[in-house]
């Protein structure tokens, strides 16, 4: 399935959300909340931003479902592929695999790796004199990891302007809110304190996301703090920690699907 570029944002978002819910329901798998919080970001990146020369790294590997569905919307995965999500003998494991899926460069899932991996890709592009850039999507909770900050220091020091880091700021992490667990709010101010160009946007506005990613920087990575809603578009999932983990039953799936809307 290949959605034409500049197709209606709403149509694209609804289509992807419906497919995501179906995939999770059929496989009986959780992590729906965090997938719904970043799905619009992934759609904007893949449909409006990434060029052939660019590369993408999903640092929040627990959003593999959202990535797989996004790859389906651009024709890199088939409907049959998605039916294998979380099954035995599948390439579509709960977190991205190290090889076998076009466009997925790295196995991620343990948090705090993606920014360093992306910095290495960006540095390699620069050393090789290649055009293009690297876009990395992180969660907000993974900024608890010291390695994330190590990588940010490196990327800034090396002046990696061909790197953009998007934070999916949904405010919930593994066992509490980001404010309760290890409060770094406002995250954008932490990034600015590093001297980094930092934008704050609505992470469910595809136009805003793609416009933010068109910002150029001269001396380091572009930071985008995307305010999102965990479980976005499904009222009983929104802002609920439980939907970081839980699978849906039949009634919940039907209700969620109705709330996401029709094409």
């Amino acid at each position: 399935m290949n959605i034409p570029f500049k197709a209606s944002d709403r149509r694209l978002s609804v289509l992807a959300k419906q497919r995501l819910l179906k995939m999770h329901f059929e496989s009986g798998v959780g992590h729906i909340g965090g997938n719904l919080s970043c799905l619009d970001i992934l759609l904007a990146v893949y449909h409006y931003v990434l060029s052939e020369a660019d590369q993408f790294v999903l640092s929040k590997g627990h959003a593999a479902g959202a990535l797989y569905v996004t790859l389906w919307t651009v024709g890199k995965l088939s409907d049959d592929d998605l039916k294998q999500f979380h099954r035995d003998n599948t390439l579509l494991s709960g977190h991205p695999p190290p090889q076998g899926i076009p466009g997925i460069q790295f196995a991620t899932g343990s948090l705090g790796h993606g920014i360093g991996l992306s910095a290495g890709l960006a540095l390699g592009m620069r050393l090789a004199g290649k055009a293009g850039r690297v876009i990395c999507l992180t969660s907000d909770g993974e900024w608890n990891e010291g390695s994330s900050w190590e990588s940010l220091i490196f990327a800034k020091h090396q002046g990696l302007s061909n790197l953009a880091v998007i934070v999916d700021e949904n405010g919930l992490q593994g066992f509490g809110t980001t404010e309760e667990v290890a409060n770094l709010a406002p995250l954008s101010e932490r990034f600015r304190a590093f001297g980094l160009t930092t934008l704050e946007i609505d992470g469910h506005d595809l136009t805003a996301i793609s416009e933010a990613l068109s910002t150029s920087t001269s001396d380091g990575p572009l930071m985008i703090v995307a305010k999102t809603i965990k479980g976005c578009a499904v009222s009983f999932m929104e802002h609920q920690l439980a939907w970081h983990y839980l699978p849906m039953n039949s009634e919940q799936y039907i209700a969620a699907s109705q709330e996401v809307g029709e094409l």
């Binding site: 790295f106 899932g109 705090g112 290495g120 490196f154």
Partner: protein
């Protein structure tokens, strides 16, 4: 061995795929490499986890990253990055750990690398190179550019006797011959034993084998013949017993039903006295000194 390592990499400086990253170390050793490589030499700072992740990204772009630090700062600090970012993707990243075994001596336990290759060899596709002599680096470094696998290079202190040219680098090298049994030494320890072995009467002198590469391939036929025809076998290494080369060798010998009657394995046993000292001091505490090792050969059968 650092100087020989630097000289070896300098000879490869024209390889465009070579990128060198250091964790803020290399004073009075790596300056020539820094000058030669220019922007392909990066001081990644005191941030080893990031350094390993960055190297994976570079390798994905077609580069051959060589990472350098004090050994435990790499293999222990950044283990998950080595596991996930490098080994899961089978990327050709070389981890260079300086100070193998008790190499950092009285600098203390945080700097010692006593479980390095044992830990790293649990990872998929990882090779470990343990050169014994400075001259090993001459052939070893070009060889390491040819592999497509992750690799660990353990740098120690080469103990090459004066006026003696060791055989060219190989996973297994036989350094002395005699009728006293078999002595297998891992890496630089072999150099420490060569001259004392040569001075022993031939009947007591062990067949000294130097092991420098793991995981083990097939054991050399000559080693099997030596083991099959002797009564004493001793394996020595500056590494803890768990995950050691000695355990791997013994497993192979056992499978081949080629185990001599008297077998010992001397390893790094940490800090038995709770005191710290030179590499020589720690070796002696673990029974890895020349006197303790060679007393196993000749005389009465060991208890």
């Amino acid at each position: 061995m650092r100087k020989a390592f630097c000289e070896g990499l300098l000879r490869e400086h024209s390889r465009e795929e070579l990128v060198f990253l250091t964790g803020d170390l290399g004073f009075q050793a790596l300056e020539p490499l820094r000058s030669s490589l220019g922007q392909r030499f990066l001081n990644a700072g005191v941030a080893e986890q990031n350094m390993v992740s960055v190297s994976a990204g570079l390798a994905r772009q077609g580069f051959r990253p060589w990472l350098y630090s004090i050994s435990p700062f790499l293999y222990a600090r950044a283990f998950e990055q080595i596991r996930n970012d490098v080994c899961l993707h089978q990327l050709p990243v070389v981890l260079v750990g300086n100070g193998g075994g008790y190499g950092y001596g009285v600098m203390g336990s945080t700097h010692h690398a006593l479980e390095d290759y044992g830990v790293l060899l649990t990872l998929s596709g990882m090779d470990a190179m343990i050169p014994a002599f400075d001259s090993d680096l001459t052939s070893l470094i070009p060889m390491m550019f040819e592999t497509s696998r992750p690799c660990y290079l353990r740098l120690g202190v080469g103990e090459q006797p004066k006026d003696w040219q060791p055989p060219v680098f190989a996973p297994w090298r036989k350094l002395t011959s005699g009728g006293g049994g078999v002595l297998i030494a891992v890496g630089p320890l072999a150099g420490a034993f060569w001259e004392p072995c040569e001075l022993m009467p031939e009947a007591m002198r062990p067949n000294l084998w130097c092991l420098s590469q793991l995981p083990l391939g097939n054991l050399p036929v000559q080693l099997l013949q030596d083991a099959a025809t002797c009564s004493r076998l001793l394996i020595v290494e500056e590494h803890v017993a768990h995950g050691s080369a000695g355990q791997a060798v013994m497993t192979e010998l056992f499978k081949l039903r080629c185990v001599p009657p008297f077998v010992r394995h001397k390893t790094a046993s940490g800090y038995p006295s709770g005191r710290y000292g030179s590499q020589r001091f720690h070796r002696a505490e673990c029974g890895l000194d020349t006197l303790s090792v060679l007393s196993f050969f000749g005389g009465e059968n060991p208890a």
